[in-house]
C-alpha cells in the first residue's frame, strides 16, 4: 500500500509541475489564440533568475520568490509588447513560428548569461525532506502541489467573478466583437502573458529546487504541452487536471508495468481520449486544430 501511495505522491508532484505549465499554455491560447512554444523556456529563465537571486541573498526564500515573480511578469510583458503584439495581425503559423524562434533564442541566451552546468538552487527549505505519514517528499514538491491548487482556485474565481476574467472570456469567444464592446483586448492579452509567466516560472523554479537546475529544464514545456491538449486547449483548469493525470499515469505505469513505458503512457492516454473527445476533456468543440 505504501508503494502505491509513494507512486501517487510522486506522480502528483511532477503532475503539478506539468499542470502549472499546461495552464500557462492554455491561458495564452484562451486570450490570444496563440500557442506559445517558448513557455518552457520562459519558465526555465525564471528559474535561473530565482537561482541568481537566491545566490545573492544567501538563499532567502521570500526575496527569491518575490524577485522571481516580478521578473517573470516583466519578462513576459516585454516579450508580448516587443515581439508578439506587432505580429498580432499576421497569419497564425507565422506567430507560432515566432514563439519557436523565441524558444531557441531563450535556450542559447540562458547558456550565455549563466552556463551549462547543473546547479543546486541553494534554497534549503525547498530541498528539505518532509515526512508525510511515512512518505518522504521535498518541501518544493509540497510547494508545487499547493501552487497548482492555488492557481486553479484563482483561475476559477478569476473567470467567474472578475470583470477582467469575463473580458478575457469575451476576447477568447470573439476578439473583434469584444473590442467593439469596449474591451481593451491588448490589456487582456498582457494579463494572460503575465499570468502564464508566473505559473510556468513557479513550476520551473520549484522543479529546479526539488531536482536540479540545468539548461535542459526547458524540456518541461514539451512534457506539459500534451497535458494542455488532454485537458482542452482553451480550458485553463482542464489543463491543470491534464497535467496531474499525466504525472500520476506515468508513475503508475513506471511503478507497476515497466519504467520504459512511462514516457509513452501519457501519450497513449492522450490519443485514446482525443479519439473520443477531439477537443480535450474540458475544451470547447469550436477549437481549430493546427
Amino acid at each position: 500500500m505504501n508503494y502505491l501511495i509513494e507512486l501517487l505522491v510522486s506522480g502528483l508532484a511532477v503532475g503539478a509541475v506539468y499542470g502549472l505549465i499546461a495552464m500557462s499554455f492554455a491561458i495564452i491560447f484562451k486570450a490570444t489564440g496563440l500557442l506559445n512554444f517558448a513557455q518552457g523556456e520562459m519558465g526555465m529563465i525564471t528559474a535561473y533568475v530565482a537561482f541568481s537571486i537566491a545566490s545573492a541573498t544567501d538563499g532567502n526564500p521570500w526575496l527569491t520568490a518575490a524577485g522571481a515573480i516580478v521578473f517573470s511578469v516583466l519578462f513576459a510583458l516585454a516579450v508580448e509588447r516587443i515581439v508578439i503584439r506587432p505580429m498580432v495581425d499576421e497569419p497564425i503559423l507565422a506567430r507560432i513560428m515566432t514563439t519557436i524562434g523565441l524558444a531557441v533564442i531563450f535556450r542559447s541566451g540562458t547558456m550565455l548569461v549563466w552556463d551549462a552546468l547543473p546547479h543546486d538552487m541553494g534554497l534549503a527549505a525547498g530541498s528539505a525532506l518532509v515526512d508525510l505519514g511515512g512518505v518522504r517528499v521535498r518541501g518544493a514538491q509540497i510547494g508545487v502541489v499547493v501552487a497548482l491548487a492555488v492557481a486553479v482556485a484563482a483561475m476559477l474565481a478569476f473567470f467567474r467573478y472578475s470583470r477582467f476574467g469575463i473580458a478575457m472570456r469575451a476576447v477568447a469567444s470573439d476578439d473583434a466583437t469584444a473590442r467593439l464592446m469596449g474591451v481593451k483586448t491588448a490589456r487582456v492579452q498582457q494579463a494572460a502573458w503575465g499570468a502564464a509567466a508566473v505559473m510556468s516560472g513557479i513550476a520551473g523554479a520549484l522543479f529546479a529546487i526539488a531536482w536540479e537546475l540545468s539548461p535542459s529544464l526547458y524540456a518541461l514545456g514539451l512534457k506539459s504541452f500534451p497535458a494542455t491538449i488532454l485537458g482542452g486547449l482553451d480550458s485553463v483548469v482542464g489543463s491543470a487536471f491534464g497535467g496531474v493525470v499525466i504525472g500520476i499515469t506515468e508513475n503508475l505505469v513506471g511503478g507497476y508495468l515497466s519504467p520504459g513505458l512511462k514516457e509513452v503512457a501519457g501519450f497513449v492516454i492522450i490519443i485514446a481520449i482525443l479519439m473520443v473527445r477531439p477537443y480535450g476533456l474540458f475544451g470547447e468543440k469550436r477549437i481549430e486544430r493546427l
Binding site: M111, A116, D120
Partner: protein, 381 residues
Amino acid sequence: MKSWKGAALLAAALAAPAMAADQGVTDTEILLGEVEPLTGPPGLLGIAHNLGVRLALAEANAAGGVGGRTLKLVAEDDGYVTSRTIQSLRKLIGVDKVFALTAVSGSGQAVASIPVLKQSGIPTMIPIGPLPPLYEPPMDNVFVVGQSYTEGMHQLALFLAEKHPGAKWGVITQDDDYGAALREGIEQAKGEAQIEVAFETRYARGQKDFSSEMLRVKDAGVEVLIAGGIISENIAMVKEAEKLGITPAIATFWPGRVPEVLKAIGPASDGIYAVDYVAPIQSDAGQAFLELARKHLTEDEVARVNRYTMTGYTSTRLLIAAMQTCAEDLTWACTNQALADGPAVDTGVMAPAAFAGGRFTNSPVTIMQADYETLSYAPVD
C-alpha cells in the same frame, strides 16, 4: 580528344584530396579544426574540451610552434546534433581547409562521421566519445584517446562485485549507444564475477523524473545501483534515493564526473563511486594541470576546466608531437604514421598515452569515490 581531356581533369579533381594532404599549412601557421557542442547542456563537455585543446596549442606556440609555424584553431559548434556535426566537418575540411581535426563531437556524432573522415583521410583525434566502432576496425587517420565505455563499466562492475559480494544490483541505463555500451560492460563482468541484477531498466534520453524507477529500486532491495545516466539523470536518481531513505552503493560513469554534479546533488553525493581514466582535479596531477592552465587561460576559463579539458589537452599534445616529428614534411600521411608509431605522451593527468602502432590508447581506468566536503573524487585503494 576533348572528352579525354575532360575525363583527365575530372580524375584529377577526384584525386585532389589525396594530393592536397598538406592543406591548412603555410610558412607561418598551421590551421586545425574541431567540432563540439559549445551550446546547450552538452556544452559542459564541449567548452571544457575546447579549453584543453587551446591550452595545448598555447603551450606549443609559446615554445615556438611546430617547425616555426603558429598553431591556430577553428572550433565549430554542432549543439550535439549529428546533422550539424557532418555539416561542420565538411566546412572544416572543404572550406576552411584545416590540416587536422582535434575532436569530432560526442560518440554518436563521431560514429556517424566515419564515412566523411575515412573518405577525406585527414588526421583526426577522438578524445570525447571513445566508442569501439571508431577504432575497430582501425582507420588509417582516426585516433581514439581514452578508454571504451564498455571496458570502463566492466572494470567498475568487477570492483563493485568484489567490494559488495552477494549484493542485489540495480541497473538504470540510457536507451542509446551509450547505455548499450554500459550494459555490455556489465554483461562481461557477469562472466567473471557473481552479479545478481534484481532490477534493470532503460530510460529515454532527456527524462527528468526518476521517482518510479527509484521506487522500484527500493522495492527490489537493491544494494548496488549503477546510475547509468550522464549528468541530470544521475542527479535525479541520487536525490530520489536520498528522498526515499535508501542508501545503496551508487556508481556513476565518467561523463558526469565533474564537481558541479556533486554540488547539485548535495551531501547525498558523498561516497558515490565513479570510474575514469583521467586524474581527479584535486589530485597533485590535477592541481599541476590547473597551474599550467592559469598560465595560458583566463580566470573564467580556468573555472570551467574539468576532465574533458584534460582529455582534450592530452589528445592534442599527441597530435602536436606527431606534427613535430613531421615538421619538415608536414603531410597527412606522415602525421598519421607518426601518431601511430610515436612515443607515449605523459601529461600527468592520464597514464602515458600512445597508440603503439594502433589507433586507440586503451588507457587504464581508476575507480574513485566522491568526497562531498571537498567536491572531489579520490582513487579507491
